[in-house]
C-alpha cells in the first residue's frame, strides 16, 4: 500500500516536473510546477514530515506560484515561438544529465543503508509540529532570527527594485 502510494506520487512529481521543462506556454509550466509541488508534499507525508508538507503547499504551491502567475500576467507573456533547436545545447544538457544520473546511481548503491526500509517510530502518532518547533526555537534560535532579517532585507530590496524612477 505504502509502496503503491509512493509510486503514484513519485511519478506525479516527476511527470509534472518534466512538464515544466517541456511545455511552451509559461502558464502551463507554472500550473505544472504547482502539481509537481503538491506531489512532493504528498511524498513528505509518506516520510511522516507533516509540518514540512503543509509548509510546502502553503509557501510553494500557494504563495510562490501565485507570485509566478502574477508576473506572467504582468509581463503578458505569450507562448514561445519555435526557435531553432541548438544541437550543442541539447548535447551538453544530455551529457550533464547522463553524468549526473550515473554518479547518483553509483553513490546511492554504495550507501550501506540504501536498501533499508523506514524504521518504526517509537509512538504511532509523533507530534512532529511540536518537535520541529522545539528544534527551531531551542537549537536554531539564532539562525531563525537571521532568517527574519533576511526576509526583511528581501522585502526592502523588492520595493527598491520595483520602484519606478520619477522623471
Amino acid at each position: 500500500m505504502q509502496l503503491a502510494l509512493f509510486w503514484v506520487f513519485a511519478i506525479l512529481t516527476l511527470l509534472f516536473g518534466a512538464g515544466v521543462v517541456v511545455f511552451r506556454s509559461p502558464v502551463s509550466s507554472a500550473m505544472s510546477l504547482v502539481m509537481s509541488f503538491v506531489g512532493l508534499a504528498a511524498l513528505f507525508v509518506t516520510l511522516d514530515a507533516f509540518f514540512i508538507a503543509v509548509v510546502q503547499v502553503l509557501v510553494y504551491a500557494g504563495a510562490v506560484m501565485v507570485l509566478f502567475l502574477f508576473i506572467i500576467m504582468l509581463l503578458d507573456l505569450r507562448t514561445e515561438g519555435r526557435r531553432p533547436v541548438k544541437l550543442a545545447a541539447w548535447a551538453g544538457g544530455g551529457m550533464v544529465l547522463v553524468g549526473f544520473l550515473s554518479a547518483l546511481t553509483k553513490v546511492v548503491f554504495s550507501l550501506p543503508e540504501a536498501a533499508q526500509t523506514k524504521p518504526d517510530l517509537p509512538l504511532p502518532g509523533v507530534n512532529d509540529v511540536a518537535q520541529v518547533g522545539f528544534a527551531l526555537f531551542r537549537n536554531f534560535n539564532l539562525p531563525f532570527q537571521i532568517i527574519g532579517v533576511l526576509l526583511l532585507v528581501a522585502t526592502i530590496g523588492v520595493v527598491v527594485l520595483s520602484r519606478r524612477e520619477l522623471k
Binding site: 514530515a49 518537535q131 522545539f134
Partner: protein, 106 residues
Amino acid sequence: MPTLAHYLFVSGGLFAIGLLGVLLRRNILIIFMGLELMLNAANLSLVAFSRFHPGHDGLPGYSAQVFVFFIITVAAAEVAVGLAIIVALFRAKQTTHVEDLDTLKF
C-alpha cells in the same frame, strides 16, 4: 515499503529535470522554475535522510526538517527578489528571452 534509495532516486530525477530546464530553456521565468525544482529536490533528500536515520530516542532527525524550513524561507525570499529583477529587466528590454539579453556580452 519504499527504501531510502527510492526517495534518493526521485530526488535525483527531480534535480536532473530542474538542471535540464536551466540548461535548455531560454525563457528566464522557466529557468527560474527550474531553480525551484532543484531546491525542492534537495529538500526531499534531506527529509528522506532525516526519516531513515532516527536519533537515539527513535525520532527522526528534526534538525534536517528545520533546515528544510530555512531552505523554503530562503527560496521564497529569492523568488521575490528574482521576480522583481525580471520585472525590472522586462521594463528595460521588453524581453524575457535570455539570448536577447546580451548587453554585457563581449
